[in-house]
Symmetry: C2
Subunit: 413 residues, 2 copies
């Protein structure tokens, strides 16, 4: 069987597409265009209150990179609008000028003027910078953007076995653990960089990553993805080893489906959907609704005091995964869960009065903060999710998000 | 005016003393004696569920030191019971054997067998180790305990301007901030170490610390203590600079009152009580009761997702401060707030069914976890608070906690 847009079997749910598109272009994108640009220093403000007012001026590299990526992606996949390209270039120029240390590592945060605040201890700053410049390169074709993306990517691969470097506080040898986040992000990043790296290198890169996610971090006994495992994939009976992050796992399952489509691997799609459905059921709060942020595999209290909160990205990433899983397999549990997640997410995270969505709810689903952006919430999960679900569910849509290679760019908004 | 036990002016509230004493000796101390000793490897388990069952075996240095301190303190201030001394020695032996690196810095955590897990990046591990061995030395008179306490204390002073050392992720120079925790803890630690350091050195050490707390970290405009300030004490308009931690501030105000009694400084008592009352009023959740964990000076969303939770130590430390403030000044707001805090704390944190208290409540005052001990909650704030309030409010009590020098050890339980 060759996977392509004609093999999409889930054909219901298409009625949802327009709502996701309208929310993206009528509410969310204007919010960031109107409020996040720092016209004085360049770059983006992301700490924005309910109405878009800046309440904190520091610039976090994760979110600078993610916003550059998002606007570049809209240029590449939706429409080559000059205002979107300008937004991407505006952020990229600030990053390029201020973002890196002498070794090419990306700082974690900068002041609004671009002075370094927090050292490059966090390799995900680099991941989102590579993602940004790779996507921007596809929009601009500029060698300078390609080079930053590639150099950053190579640097990530060099650092990947000791990503925190000298900032790592773990005593060597006693309890070696590896963390799920990096292989997970690299699955997504490698696909985004395929135009730059070439198909062969991406093929070689993703094979072991798929194995990591689906075998090493996958716990057969529970059927769940663990956040931290011993180097051989076995369980560490510790806070770190028992940690579950259902949103993380669900996000990685749609990355897996993308890789499965690329590799024409229907069995990987089925396995991803199995894990997605099991994790969603497991992580769902039967009392108040929504998916928990953190759980402990053995039901013990997790370390994280925020364990019972409901976070925007957890729910949006799960919606993407369920929509993808449904379109690719037609399984009715995907459709049913999509409807449950859709209702919860739109009822609780969407702000009925002002643009963009709330990020943090307490267990009962009430906003914990009214902010629309902060240190960790920027122009990323909400618009990416709205874009993805719109594309995936479009009845006659071109499904760019799933079958990029099949389609040509068209003006379709 | 010479401050001494005869100058205590607040004479109501004495009816509360017995309840605190009974809870300490009938519920809390037996809980830790029965459940926290690791008979195989030495040291203490602290991750204990509602009934005292161990759910995680790692050993956190903060809590090893604090439990050693607590049992030593009971020996020194309440009664020289062999079983308490044995508990203290049991923990101290494990710490002494496994707790330090080659430079004498204390690890943050160990496995149950005592292998290092997390490097000595956290200077409070050292503070609580010094506190433990200083108090233990007062109980044993052993040179070995005295030496560990003194060496650790000297090492803290050496490290105090760069406490995280190479683990510090702040880029030097851009936004230098100093943090309130260390001067605050040193105020308390210096008093505990007075027998070892001598009165003159303690006098010299605490003078600048009192100034730090009451002038540098004190924000005149708001009348509140800030968690992080510029080196000159001015406000940094950033997440860190706007951060308020009312429980921390209230805890430090009773340390100030202890120093004021030592220094015979009634004006420091009045100023401490002013800040205490204002902070308690400011930090009180008018909707659901209890004191917030974190707030932002300008009312913005703090970084901490757990900002609205109600934590055991915040409430217990506030009770100590209010009881002390009341006894020392007779101010009726102290009495009134003590009654409010007492009712909230006993109604929400005390477990009516099993020994020891809950640690973490959500904003509404419902337990977020059922645990009695964890990575940060050990045998410390609850029993120290019960002891302090019992002593402070005892009608014919000996007020050892306030006027240590005046009293001789007696068997009084």
């Amino acid at each position: 069987m060759l996977l392509n847009k004609n093999t999409l079997t889930g054909t219901e749910l298409t009625g949802y597409a327009a709502g996701y598109r309208d929310e993206l272009f009528d509410s969310v994108i204007p919010f960031w265009m109107n409020h996040s640009r720092d016209e004085v220093n360049g770059g983006f403000f992301t700490c924005l209150d309910r109405k878009g007012q800046v309440f904190n001026t520091d610039k976090y590299m994760w979110l600078q990179g993610r916003e550059v990526w998002l606007f570049s992606m809209l240029c590449n996949k939706v429409s080559r609008k000059q205002e979107w390209l300008d937004m991407a270039l505006h952020g990229a120029a600030f990053m390029e000028k201020h973002g890196r240390d002498a070794m090419g590592n990306w700082y974690f945060s900068l002041t609004q003027e671009g002075k370094p605040l927090i050292q490059p201890y966090n390799i995900f700053s680099d991941c989102f910078a590579a993602m940004a410049f790779a996507e921007l390169y596809k929009a601009t074709g500029k060698e300078e953007h390609r080079e930053i993306a590639l150099n950053t990517f190579r640097n990530i691969l060099k650092r990947k076995n000791n990503p925190k470097g000298s900032y790592c506080k773990v005593y060597p040898g006693t309890r070696p653990l590896k963390n799920f986040s990096l292989p997970m992000i690299l699955c997504n990043l490698s696909l985004i960089m395929e135009d730059l790296l070439g198909s062969e290198e991406v093929g070689r890169t993703i094979q072991p990553l798929i194995k990591e996610v689906m075998e090493v971090f996958y716990d057969r006994e529970s059927g769940l993805i663990l956040e931290n495992v011993h180097p051989d994939g076995s369980l560490s009976d510790s806070f770190e080893g028992r940690l579950l992050n259902p949103g993380h796992s669900n996000e990685s399952m749609w990355f897996m489906m993308d890789l499965a489509v690329r590799n024409n691997d229907p069995s990987l799609i089925q396995k991803s959907v199995d894990i997605l459905l099991h994790t969603t059921e497991y992580g769902w709060d039967k009392q108040y609704g929504g998916i928990f942020y953190f759980l402990d595999l053995h039901g013990h209290p997790p370390q994280q005091l925020e364990w019972d909160q409901k976070l925007w990205w957890v729910h949006i990433e799960t919606l993407i995964a369920l929509a993808k899983g449904y379109r690719l397999t037609g399984r009715k549990e995907c459709k049913e869960w999509f409807e449950v997640l859709h209702d919860y997410t739109w009822d609780h995270f969407r702000d009925p009065e002002y643009p963009e969505w709330f990020g943090y709810l307490n267990r009962r689903g009430e906003p914990l903060f009214e902010l629309k952006g902060g240190k960790w919430k920027g122009c990323f999960h909400v618009p990416r999710g709205l874009y993805e679900v719109w594309e995936i569910l479009s009845p006659n849509g071109i499904h760019k998000s799933m079958f990029q290679k099949d389609v040509k760019l068209t003006e379709n908004i």
